[in-house]
Symmetry: C2
Subunit: 336 residues, 2 copies
């Protein structure tokens, strides 16, 4: 059921089989599998994750390529609730391992008048993902007007849409400029914008010149365009540059702070996992963008399948076997 | 475009980047990714694969749990064609490696009046999957009336639907009877049917007795029920046994004959692959049920993402880089 401040008391003494932190594609996939494996499961999500912002999920089999990410999320959440799962809107602050080999998951619920509560589980799935950094302008609404439309954040997802268009590549480090030399598979008409956020060395300048990709270091004042179609940028000096599309490559925020008190193996900000999405901790799994690998909806959804299946197998094997208890009327032809 | 005997001549001299054998969930996912990576791709499928028979795809995020498998397949095929991919209904007989490091894929097209044609590609994705063995009765229509409805073939997919119901487990080997000791997680009311296909040793008989699971060795005459709801079986001796659901665990046919002439690493009938679904051959990938792992739609779809992405990376890195060829009017603020 949907938990809120009003009814969450009912679950504070419940030991869940699994708590999933994050209600995006990976978390919901795991949650649906877990409920169908007849395990008890709580999804805690803060809302507005990466896939919530996708205007079109373009490469996920079975979805019309104009399906908004939030439609898939809503469908998944309803499906999970219909299977008897619990769902809470809240922010996970920390996770502690307790002496009886369970997890205490500390959650803040509410925006004003915040309540702190603790839920308990045998297993934990970290599905809290990442969110893309965007250019920080004075008027952020101007950025949100285009981000996820024709100002993209994922080349694998939207390279096709950028094909052979005049494309702005928005970076915040010199290293991120290297994205241009992959993006040019889709379009060679690339202008690189640093927004004044990084120095660019002579070698990189030379490489950009060799490829004919202009480098713009003047900060951006605002994106130009209308109706969610970005048509260029205006710089701080008032000049304008025409564009037909854009790709933001400014790194991501990882929602992994709550895990930092646990003994886990990291590769940068990503959790290292095995082929079943298990982290270096036996009872903690990671799915989707938080783990190493390709950040794609299809991968996160499969991760959910893997983690849920591994957990089910373990809980099942550790449980007493179920026998046919009643006296059986032996069917004709049956040999016991 | 849709290829058929009428127009396939147009493609016989084309060297595809990738030919995908199999148009199921994994093959179509790979195909959509590959076209979106701007690669040229041909899907060859014989039709009526495993997911075609699924009446309800119940655990694939974003789909209503009553979505038939064929709806997802039709959506995926239309999506692929809309991206400019080629699709052919045909049966792949064999694949040969040619001296110039390409593949010759030999296909039979048509049912009567069969035409043999050969297509060429740089890479191959084996996505031809498996099909479940079903009990062979005199009247197979009687089996098809229930298979995929409440006579299931996949415990992970449909265990939830069998929960605490009287369930027939249909096996063809003694080893397959062990499925009962996993299935009892979902329901303990299991009757095992061998259909007279295998001997059952004393140890297994003892274990079944301990669990209270009746063993029926008399051959099945027919399934009982109506409107795709199986309600029991009638045995060859005329006796009837009431059931509420069933699980067939009789192994699968692997559609992998066309690969047997190539030097690949197998584990049983499954292809061994790395984390990107690459087989032991550099330019052959395997996705979905044909490779080792869990047979689930979500996994096959992610496999398609992985294989397509690995192939794209390789082709891209081996291709000449695209530069902005025209003379650039240097934008104000830009430093080349």
């Amino acid at each position: 059921m949907k938990l809120s401040r009003k009814n969450l008391d009912q679950r504070l003494n419940h030991l869940y089989d699994v708590i999933i932190v994050g209600g995006g594609m990976g978390g919901l996939s795991a949650a649906i599998y877990l409920q169908r494996y007849r395990l008890s499961c709580l999804v805690i999500e803060k809302g507005k994750g990466r896939s919530f912002w996708m205007q079109d999920v373009r490469n996920f089999l079975g979805q019309d390529p104009h399906t908004p990410g939030r439609d898939v999320l809503n469908q998944g959440q309803d499906h999970f609730l219909s299977l008897g799962g619990d769902h809470l809107r809240g922010f996970v602050e920390s996770v502690e391992e307790t002496e009886d080999d369970t997890f205490a998951v500390n959650v803040k619920v509410g925006k004003q008048d915040v309540t702190g509560v603790t839920f308990r589980s045998k297993y934990l799935i970290a599905a809290s993902g990442v969110i893309d950094n965007l250019p920080q302008l004075d008027d952020m609404q101007n950025v949100f007007d285009y981000a996820g439309y024709n100002l993209h954040v994922c080349m694998i997802c939207d390279g096709w849409e950028m094909a052979d268009l005049k494309c702005g590549l928005f970076v915040n480090t010199e290293n991120a400029i290297n994205t241009a030399f992959v993006l040019n598979w889709f379009t060679p008409y690339i202008t690189v914008f640093t927004h004044g956020l990084c120095e660019v060395g002579a070698e990189m300048r030379g490489k950009l010149k060799e490829y004919g990709f202009p480098l713009v270091e003047t900060p951006i004042a605002r994106f130009l365009g209308e109706k969610h179609t970005m048509t260029g940028v205006e710089l701080a000096d008032g000049s304008q540059i025409e564009l037909e599309t854009g790709l933001v490559s400014m790194g991501s925020q990882y929602h992994n702070g709550y895990l930092k008190g646990l003994d886990l193996t990291w590769k940068g900000e990503n959790l290292v996992t095995d082929s079943m999405c298990r982290t270096s901790h036996d009872r903690i799994f990671a799915v989707g963008d938080l783990k190493e690998g390709i950040n794609q909806v299809s991968i996160a959804v499969a991760d959910g399948t893997l983690a849920a299946t591994a957990i089910w197998r373990e809980i099942r094997r550790a449980s007493p076997p179920r026998r046919w208890q009643e006296n059986i009327v032996e069917p004709i032809g049956a040999v016991l």
